[in-house]
C-alpha cells in the first residue's frame, strides 16, 4: 500500500508541475514573447486575407522556411529603451516620415 500511495503522489505532483509549466508557457505565447509566434499586428477583429504561397523573407529568395510575419527578436537591432541618450552624437542619423 505505501508503494501505491507514493506512486500516486508522484503522478499527482508530476501532473501539477506539468500543468504549471504549461500555463506559464501558454502565458508567454499569449503575451507575444514566443519567437516562433506569428505577429498579429492589427486589431484582433481584423481578418488576415487569404493568400497564396508567399515569401516570408523580405530580402531573400523565400527559401528560409520561416513562418510568415515579422522577424523574431534576435537581439541584433534593438533600441536602447533608456530614453534620450545625452549628446554622444552631435549629428546622429535621423529617422522621419517622408
Amino acid at each position: 500500500m505505501p508503494s501505491t500511495l507514493s506512486t500516486r503522489r508522484l503522478v499527482l505532483v508530476s501532473l501539477a508541475l506539468f500543468l504549471i509549466i504549461l500555463a506559464f508557457l501558454a502565458g508567454r505565447v499569449r503575451a507575444g514573447a514566443d519567437p516562433a509566434q506569428v505577429s498579429a499586428p492589427a486589431s484582433s477583429s481584423t481578418p488576415a486575407p487569404q493568400t497564396q504561397t508567399y515569401d516570408t523573407d523580405p530580402y531573400g529568395d523565400g527559401s528560409s522556411g520561416a513562418p510568415p510575419g515579422f522577424s523574431p527578436d534576435q537581439g541584433g537591432s534593438l533600441p536602447d529603451q533608456g530614453g534620450a541618450v545625452p549628446g554622444q552624437e552631435l549629428d546622429p542619423p535621423t529617422t522621419h516620415a517622408s
Binding site: 505577429s39 488576415a48 523580405p58 530580402y59 529603451q81 552624437e89 522621419h96 516620415a97 517622408s98
Partner: protein, 313 residues
C-alpha cells in the same frame, strides 16, 4: 578613425551616407559611399511611379500577366507580397490607383505640407485601418526566372517599401569593418556598431527621442510630411486605409520602428500607424519604437522581453 559623411537628394527626399572605419582607408570609404549613392539613385530611377519610363511604371502598364523584371523590381514585388501578409493586409503596395485618386498622382517634392493641426481638426472621425477583403498584393508572384506575375491592372506603388528596400540594398555594398548608417528618406539601414538614431517630431520637426540600435533598420511612417488639401477642401495624406482607399486617421500621426532591416522597419512603422494607438503599441513591442499621438504625446514603446528556454545538451 576614417570617416565619410555625404548628404544628397534621392527618391524625392533627403538621403545620407555615413561610413566610419579604423581599418578601411578613407579613399576606399569614398568609393563605397559612391557605390551606395549609385545604388540609391538606381533604385530611384527604377522604382518611381512618377516617371512613365521607369521600370515600375512600365511593369504597371504592361498588359502581360508575367513580366520580366530586374532583380531590384522583382525584390520589390516579393517585398510587397511579404509586407501585405506580415501586416495582416494593412501595408498594401497595390493601392496605386487609390493614392492617385487621393490627389497624389505626381511628385510633391518642393511643395510645402498643409498644416497638421488644421488637417487633424478637419479630419473625419478616427477609425482603425482595415485590410481589403481581396487585396491585390495577394495575387503577386515572382517566378524562379525573375518574372513578376500579377493580373494586369494590379499596379505596384513602391512608396515607403521602395525606400526601405533601397537602404537595405545599398547596405549590402558596405564591406566588413565599416560602421555605416544609410538613410533613404528617413528609412535607415545601420550596422557595424552601435548607433544613436534621432526621431523627429511630427508637430515641430525637432528631435523628440533617440533610439540606440546595434544593427538593422529604423524607419518612420507619418501623415505630416505628405499632407495636402484636395480640390474639395478636404485634407488628405498618403497613408491609406486599404479597406476604404482613403487617408487613414487613426489617432496617431507618426510611428517609428526598429527592426532587423530598413524594409521591415518601414513595414512595422506603417502597420503601427494604421493600427492606431493600442494595436500599434503591440506592433512596436516586437523590436521597440516610438508612437506620436495626435495630441502631441510621444510614447516610447519598449520591446517585449523574450523568454528563451534552452535545454543543455
Amino acid at each position: 578613425m576614417n570617416r565619410v559623411d555625404e548628404r544628397f537628394r534621392c527618391m524625392g527626399c533627403d538621403a545620407r551616407v555615413r561610413l566610419e572605419s579604423a581599418l578601411v582607408p578613407e579613399p576606399e570609404l569614398r568609393r563605397t559611399a559612391a557605390a551606395v549613392r549609385a545604388a540609391l539613385a538606381d533604385a530611384d530611377r527604377r522604382l518611381t511611379r512618377f516617371e512613365p519610363g521607369s521600370e515600375l511604371s512600365r511593369l504597371n502598364a504592361d498588359p502581360r500577366e508575367a513580366v520580366p523584371a530586374s532583380p531590384l523590381v522583382a525584390r520589390l514585388a516579393r517585398a510587397a507580397l511579404w509586407a501585405g501578409n506580415a501586416s495582416g493586409g494593412l501595408v498594401d503596395a497595390t493601392l496605386a490607383g487609390e493614392i492617385e485618386a487621393a490627389g497624389y498622382a505626381a511628385s510633391r517634392t518642393g511643395q510645402a505640407a498643409a498644416p497638421l493641426a488644421d488637417a487633424l481638426a478637419a479630419a473625419p472621425p478616427r477609425a482603425l485601418a482595415r485590410p481589403r477583403p481581396e487585396p491585390g498584393f495577394a495575387r503577386i508572384e515572382v517566378l524562379a526566372d525573375g518574372r513578376v506575375v500579377r493580373p494586369p491592372g494590379v499596379r505596384l506603388d513602391s512608396g515607403g517599401l521602395g525606400k526601405g528596400l533601397a537602404a537595405d540594398v545599398a547596405a549590402e555594398l558596405v564591406p566588413a569593418g565599416v560602421r555605416y548608417a544609410i538613410s533613404a528618406g528617413g528609412d535607415l539601414a545601420l550596422g557595424g556598431g552601435e548607433w544613436e538614431v534621432a526621431v523627429t517630431g511630427a508637430a515641430t520637426g525637432a528631435e523628440v527621442h533617440r533610439l540606440r540600435v546595434r544593427s538593422g533598420g529604423v524607419a518612420t511612417s507619418g501623415i505630416h510630411e505628405r499632407l495636402w488639401r484636395r480640390e474639395d477642401g478636404a485634407f488628405a495624406h498618403h497613408v491609406l486605409d486599404p479597406s476604404t482607399g482613403e487617408p487613414a486617421w487613426t489617432g496617431l500621426v507618426a510611428a517609428t520602428a526598429a527592426a532587423p532591416g530598413a524594409l521591415e522597419a518601414e513595414v512595422l512603422a506603417k502597420t503601427a500607424l494604421l493600427s492606431g494607438p493600442a494595436a500599434g503599441r503591440r506592433v512596436l513591442r516586437r523590436h521597440g519604437g516610438v508612437l506620436q499621438h495626435e495630441d502631441g504625446r510621444v510614447e516610447i514603446v519598449e520591446r517585449a522581453p523574450v523568454v528563451r528556454l534552452r535545454v543543455a545538451a
